[in-house]
Amino acid sequence: MTPALPGAAAGAGVAAMTVPPAAFLLVGTLLFFIGVAGALLKRNALSMFLSIELMMNAVNLLFLTYARMRGDAAGQMVVFFVIAVAAAEAAVGLAIFVALFRARMTIDVDKANLLKW
């Protein structure tokens, strides 16, 4: 069967995967760990949180890949919820950063040392 471009294929039916699923999983895993690295190495709270967002999205990719492998919509549902939760988290997180900045004038994590790490 000839591969079709996914955009065109979406209306016509789900085409077979020519890219091995493991490749998607690999990308997802790598992205996840890039996110982990960022979360651990960044010094700015905001950048750390960005990295965490990347982790979440990497997980989403994993979910989508597995959902595709199994032809199962449950994985997509989970991603839907994860995206919503991420938005909620972002709102609260950023509000906390703003509050912290107002109180301390910095959100450098290394300088957030009123409480001993």
Binding site: Y66, I96, A112
Partner: protein, 485 residues
């Protein structure tokens, strides 16, 4: 199979009735705060009433609901009550303090109620997605509560640290769920259990890694070494009455979820392959928590490390993972809730306030000046040490007994070694309270009727359950029996 479309039965609603009550009460509080500010003195009572009503609805029938997304059981009822109890104590003890600091917005109580609702939903969840949503509801509310004194740098810093690390842990939770889903084809614990039972799942490295990631995320919420780093900072900076909640019920919830995950994804023989992992967490937590707590000079920070150690004892129960051990864990958690919440409330009542640190030295002489709160704190210290006739002893008795019965004497020995070390710092608090003359005047908030009620409640729980633990034990037993397998 897909469930019925937009179809909710009364049994479904009954199963989440407590959550509904809590959520609605939270919304009511927000509206009240917006439109009835003058009635702010009534907010704590509204929250308490919500808890009471939620408790009235707590007698829902067991069984799965919402097309199998959740599973109501004795166990969830047990955790419901723990969550409500923690909220009640926190509200009772926190009212006066917040009012003094003019921080008694309705949102505080609303967030507490919502957090509790998320917690109970998390425990009910059979679908890991529901578990995740419950976990996040609980956690996000707590992130906000951590930074509740948003003009206090320490509080916002605590909020930031808790938030960052919490979000980090959530990502790992999701990673675990994704992996397990990919390998076993479902996010539902019952389906996972069925799938795993008939396959080579237990040897699959990715499934193992997935479960590991989920457990690590839960261990973060429980604050087990090496996933504990947030606890001391957050406890220290967070509003003390909110810590009374944070440090108790959410941990219980996370423990129960961990048990459910292990039940589903550990092969028959009850989690034995996970034993080294859990035992390592237990040993590290007990030793690290207790030793570092010895060095602390801030009460809240000390209690944070002590909490890490206490959860180490829980981890002993998890590592043992026999039915009596799980029972013991539940009893331990219930006792810990009353004890630790009481401790934090008393610390709040005996310290200068949320805008200042809580050095141990400030407790000096409080035995004479504030005998009531000091007695509560003393009692909770004894209970935390695990000395009879307090409920802390009963919990340890059950957990250690289960460990010994499972031939894990060495774990029990580590446990008692930790208890011995812990006596050093718990009794130091008692020493400051009763045996040391104050070096400076501390402006402690006035006690009101509500906090008095909180003290009496907590003391009763600590002592009565310590002497006559049978009702608690029986209930914990039925709760543990309601677990699958």
């Amino acid at each position: 199979m897909s469930g019925p479309f937009l179809h909710v039965t009364s049994a479904d609603l009954a199963a989440v009735a407590p959550e509904i009550v809590l959520a609605l009460a939270g919304m009511l509080l927000i509206l009240l705060d917006a439109f009835a500010r003058p009635a702010r003195r009534a907010f704590p009572y509204v929250a308490l009433a919500a808890c009471a009503v939620a408790n009235l609805f707590g007698n829902y029938p067991s069984g799965s609901a919402f097309s199998g997304a959740i599973q109501a059981s004795e166990l969830t009822r047990f955790v419901d009550l723990l969550a409500l109890a923690a909220v009640v104590l926190s509200v009772l003890g926190g009212g006066a303090l917040l009012e003094r600091d003019r921080k008694d917005q309705g949102e505080f109580y609303a967030l507490l109620l919502w957090s509790a609702a998320g917690l109970t939903l998390m425990v009910k969840g059979t679908d890991l997605l529901v578990v995740f949503l419950g976990l996040e509801t609980m956690s996000i509310a707590l992130y906000v509560l951590a930074a509740w004194y948003r003009d206090v740098p320490e509080a916002t810093e605590a909020g930031m640290k808790y938030f960052l690390m919490g979000a980090f842990a959530s990502a790992f939770f999701l990673y675990g769920v994704a992996t397990v889903y990919g390998r076993l084809g479902s996010t539902r614990l019952d389906a996972l259990q069925a799938a795993a039972a008939g396959s080579s799942a237990y040897g699959d490295p990715l499934v193992t890694i997935g479960v590991l990631a989920i457990l690590a995320a839960l261990a973060f919420k429980i604050a087990l070494v090496p996933f504990h780093a947030w606890a001391p900072d957050v406890y220290q900076g967070m509003t003390t009455p909110a810590v009374a909640f944070l440090s108790t019920a959410p941990k219980a919830g996370a423990v129960v979820v961990a048990v459910k995950v292990l039940m589903a994804l550990a092969p028959a023989g009850l989690g034995v392959p996970w034993r080294p992992f859990l035992a390592a967490l237990a040993i590290l937590s007990i030793l690290f928590g207790n030793v570092v707590a010895l060095a602390q000079r801030d009460v809240k920070r000390m209690l944070a490390y002590s909490g890490i150690a206490q959860m180490g004892y829980v981890a002993i129960g998890l590592a043992t993972f026999t039915r009596p051990a799980l029972e013991g864990v539940l009893v331990f958690l219930a006792g810990y809730l009353a004890t630790n919440a009481a401790a934090f409330l008393a610390v709040a009542a005996l310290s200068g306030g949320e805008r200042e640190p809580h050095p141990l030295a400030d407790l000096a002489g409080m035995g004479r000046r504030r005998p009531f709160a000091a007695t509560v704190l003393t009692l909770s210290m004894l209970s935390l040490t695990g000395l009879p006739p307090t409920v802390g002893f009963i919990g340890k008795l059950l957990v250690f007994r289960a460990a010994v019965d499972a031939q894990l004497v060495s774990l029990a020995l580590v446990g008692i070694f930790g208890s011995l070390i812990s006596a050093g710092y718990y009794l130091r608090v008692v020493y400051f309270l009763w045996m040391k003359e104050p070096t400076r005047e501390v402006e402690a908030p006035a006690e009101d009727v509500l906090s008095g009620a909180a003290y009496i409640l907590a003391m009763t729980a600590m002592l009565v359950l310590g002497v006559l633990p049978r009702p608690l034990l029986d209930w914990a037993r039925t709760a543990a029996l309601s677990l699958p397998r």
